[in-house]
């Protein structure tokens, strides 16, 4: 399953990555599966996505959660709590 992953704000700076296209190496039904794969990269990736960290998720440009389903071609974004307005 191919996905587009986006990172914003402090998370983008920390991971030094605004965007990447990934191929899931194990079957994944929801965002939690993607996060598990990212954490397996170790180092800063493991740290940034550790439980308890305040980051948010969107799936195809709508707010989501770790339980949100994902499918081929989806655009998943990770970012800190928003601070506009």
């Amino acid at each position: 399953m191919k996905l587009t992953l986006l990172y914003f704000a402090s998370l983008r700076e920390r991971l030094e990555c605004p965007m990447e296209r990934v191929e899931m190496t194990v079957p994944t039904e929801n965002v939690a599966g993607i996060v598990a794969q990212l954490r397996r990269r170790g180092g800063i990736w493991d740290e940034a996505f550790a439980p308890g960290r305040a980051w948010r998720i969107s799936v195809n440009q709508r707010m989501g959660t770790l339980d949100s389903p994902v499918a081929e071609g989806d655009e998943i974004a990770f970012f800190p709590p928003v601070t506009g307005g």
């Binding site: 704000a9 969107s58 709508r62 707010m63 970012f79 601070t83």
Partner: protein
């Protein structure tokens, strides 16, 4: 002009407000909110601010918030404009303007849109201060403000 816009340029509050009444005589009330960059935040001087956003999702999130407001109140029209890029103290950041026949709806919907925008629209502020640059932390008071509008809790 779309009712929700994200732009680098400054906006003109007078023009946005006038657009809501343009050619109509059924508008009784327009409530408007404008947010500005302040020169201090959490006790530290702020010299500049950069607003990052998620192109595509931002516009969609603002449209969703407008739809939600139109569903909750008897409104005539509304406008949301949010700036991105580099801003300085005194610069306007965001404008929300809501028109309706009566003032109660306009006030409530305008405050609702701001509260939801603050927690749901993907914008992030980075401030330049005398101690370096820093990402602004989300405020729990903004979560509380948005939570007021959940079912059964409307103010």
């Amino acid at each position: 002009m779309p009712r929700a816009r994200v732009q680098a340029e400054a906006f003109d509050a007078g023009i946005e407000i006038a657009a809501l009444g343009e050619g109509r005589r059924d508008v009784g009330a327009v409530a408007t909110f404008i947010g500005y960059v302040r020169d201090r935040n959490d006790g530290t001087g702020v010299s500049r601010m950069t607003l990052e956003h998620y192109p595509g999702m931002t516009e969609r999130a603002l449209e969703d918030i407008c739809d939600e407001a139109l569903g909750r109140w008897d409104l005539l029209d509304l406008r949301v404009v949010h700036r991105v890029g580099v801003l300085e103290p005194g610069d306007p950041i965001v404008l929300v303007a809501v028109s309706s026949a009566h003032r109660g709806e306009a006030f409530a919907a305008c405050e609702f849109v701001m509260d939801y925008l603050k927690t749901q629209a993907p914008f992030w502020k980075k401030e330049e201060t005398s101690e370096g640059s820093r990402w602004v932390d989300a405020r729990s008071s903004d979560d509380d403000a948005a939570a007021r509008w959940e079912a059964g809790k409307a103010p």
